[in-house]
């Protein structure tokens, strides 16, 4: 008998599987569950993007592209970033087309973190940062954010966690799971702290197109920040292209040079069909994106209002497609709440603590669903809350 425990990497076996998994398994065994648990758009990818992919299949050979991605796509990514942020990246030296934003995060952390390096992770946040830091023998250091601050990163909280070993700050805004954003005014003092240090920033702006009421502002647009920032973005959320697996990172050339080696050895090049389609997305789909944003906005207001009406305090999220209501008034923990909600009313939402300890007392609700679906889910949640009101 092979003892696999002795053979497998100690590091990876010690890493916990995603906290979401448990609910996924529970939900999968039940009939008639309606979900508000998904982190991907319900919209179909705009037709012109799909058509560009079909044309590519018909007319082109589907071969590897350059490691960093098609030159023409990198040029468009660079131009798009400049339009949105005013910051220029050299398409030949400062851009890599990656397999989703996820790979860009992985490349960044692997290119930067040495054993023992501390990585500041703003929480609650997407689930992948800490495990990758741990894989690199780095030390994830959570920086908590709070409802009273609309889940923004406060400069004092950041300052408190900085040590001599701090290497990287991960800044995930607009935020999954809270829907919180950072405005220019919020970012200025953060940048001010960082400018006098050697700390790098990984800014994960995958939800940058999905903001409501005001345009997204990137930290790279602030003076002196481009040189210390790795900018990550992608096509999944803005263009409803999750399954196409395409994202990108933009950063100073010395960082890109190292990250490109990891990408080259690990991936070769990102999916070719998706890359051609992505050019269409960046050049011709502004209108489609705005239409999706406007639809999300209606749902966002509807769901936020719904939770507040039920007495579950829910700050008004300004980005992404999640609301993050506080469920402390029910006397349940996040996990209890989610488990009982799915068992009793068959509605799946995600416990906030799956996104870090500071998410305890909250649940993540996705509104990437039709209004009809959201109305039925809220109806069921209302029954649940009324039955458990203290």
């Amino acid at each position: 008998m092979i003892d696999y425990d002795k053979l497998l990497s100690e590091k990876i076996t010690k890493i916990k599987p995603s906290g979401i998994r448990k609910f996924f398994d529970l939900a999968a065994t039940m009939q008639g569950v309606i979900s508000l648990g998904v982190g991907e758009p319900d919209f179909q990818t705009p037709w012109s993007i799909r058509k560009a992919a079909i044309d590519t299949l018909e007319k082109k050979r589907i071969i590897y592209t350059a490691n960093a991605g098609l030159a023409s796509l990198r040029e468009e990514i660079s131009a798009y970033t400049e339009r949105k942020t005013g910051v220029h990246y050299d398409p030949s030296k400062e851009v890599i087309v990656t397999v989703g934003g996820s790979e860009a995060i992985d490349l960044t952390i692997r290119a930067i973190v040495n054993p023992g390096d501390e990585v500041l992770i703003v929480e609650p946040c997407f689930v992948c940062y800490a495990p990758i830091v741990e894989l690199m023998h780095g030390v994830p250091v959570p920086v908590k954010t709070y409802l009273k601050d609309s889940f923004k990163l406060r400069p004092e909280a950041l300052k408190e966690k900085i040590t001599d070993r701090t290497k990287l700050l991960i800044l995930p805004y607009p935020n999954n799971p809270t829907g919180g954003i950072m405005t220019r005014e919020d970012l200025e003092p953060v940048a001010e702290i960082l400018r006098s240090t050697n700390i790098l920033v990984l800014t994960d702006e995958i939800y940058s197109e999905l903001t409501y009421g005001r345009k997204h502002f990137s930290i790279i647009s602030l003076e002196g920040m481009k040189e210390r920032t790795i900018y990550v973005n992608g096509f999944s959320k803005a263009f409803a292209m999750t399954g196409w697996r395409l994202g990108y990172m933009e950063a100073p050339a010395p960082i890109i040079k190292q990250a490109l080696k990891i990408h080259q050895y690990g991936i070769m090049s990102s999916p070719t069909i998706s890359q051609y389609a992505a050019i269409e997305a960046l050049t011709h789909c502004e209108k489609e994106v705005q239409k999706m944003v406007s639809e999300y906005n209606i749902r966002r207001r509807f769901v936020t209002d719904g939770f507040n009406r039920l007495g579950l305090e829910c700050f008004e999220p300004e980005g992404a497609f999640y609301v993050f209501p506080c469920i402390k008034s029910t006397g349940m923990t996040s996990e209890e709440f989610c488990q009982r909600l799915i068992e009793e009313q068959k509605v799946a939402v995600v416990p906030g603590n799956a996104f870090g300890d500071s998410g305890e007392g909250f649940v993540r609700v996705s509104y990437a669903y039709s209004l009809k679906h959201l109305m039925e889910a809220l109806r069921r949640i209302e029954i649940f809350i009324n039955e458990h009101r203290k």
């Binding site: 979401i20 996924f24 998904v38 982190g39 997407f126 209606i298 207001r301 509807f302």
Partner: protein, 160 residues
């Protein structure tokens, strides 16, 4: 807000004022006012249900009929269109560009019913040069609503 409100009402005219107010980030009072205004101005002409005719009533047949007509000297196509639209069987009438003039939607009990209506009523109207009748066999989408069931949500129940 007006445009968004119209869009939402077209999606579902039974949204409550409360729901509409939440969705558009305004008050119920404002919603009521705006709807009243839209009705008074005649922008909203009414509210109707969108049916899946197959399920609602097995004895309904819909046909689209293209009419070629001779416009009258003084009133163009209007008088003829008005004559056509007075029939109860006629659901909708539009003036078209292209090779036909009037596009008429007719509802009847069966194919024969509609065929007779076209032969006896429409084609005999003075000024009608020709008719071309097209029966609807199946409707997939109407007024932005999928008539047959939408594709099931293929996304997983829970994902980060």
């Amino acid at each position: 807000m007006k445009e968004k409100l119209i869009e939402l009402l077209q999606q579902n005219a039974r949204f409550t004022d409360k729901q509409l107010a939440a969705m558009l980030g305004t008050t119920e009072e404002d919603i009521r006012k705006e709807i009243k205004l839209l009705e008074e101005e005649g922008i909203i002409k009414g509210y109707s249900a969108i049916l899946n005719e197959n399920l609602a009533d097995k004895n309904t047949v819909i046909a689209y009929i293209m009419l070629k007509v001779t416009p009258k000297r003084d009133c163009g196509f209007d008088e003829l269109a008005k004559t056509v639209m007075m029939y109860d069987e006629v659901e909708a009438v539009s003036l078209m560009s292209g090779s036909y003039d009037l596009f008429v939607t007719v509802k009847g009990k069966d194919f024969k019913d509609i065929a007779l209506f076209v032969a006896q009523r429409l084609s005999t109207i003075e000024g009608v040069l020709s008719t071309s009748t097209h029966f609807v066999l199946k409707t997939y989408k109407e007024k932005g609503i999928f008539i047959e069931d939408e594709d099931a949500d293929e996304r997983g129940l829970i994902a980060p």
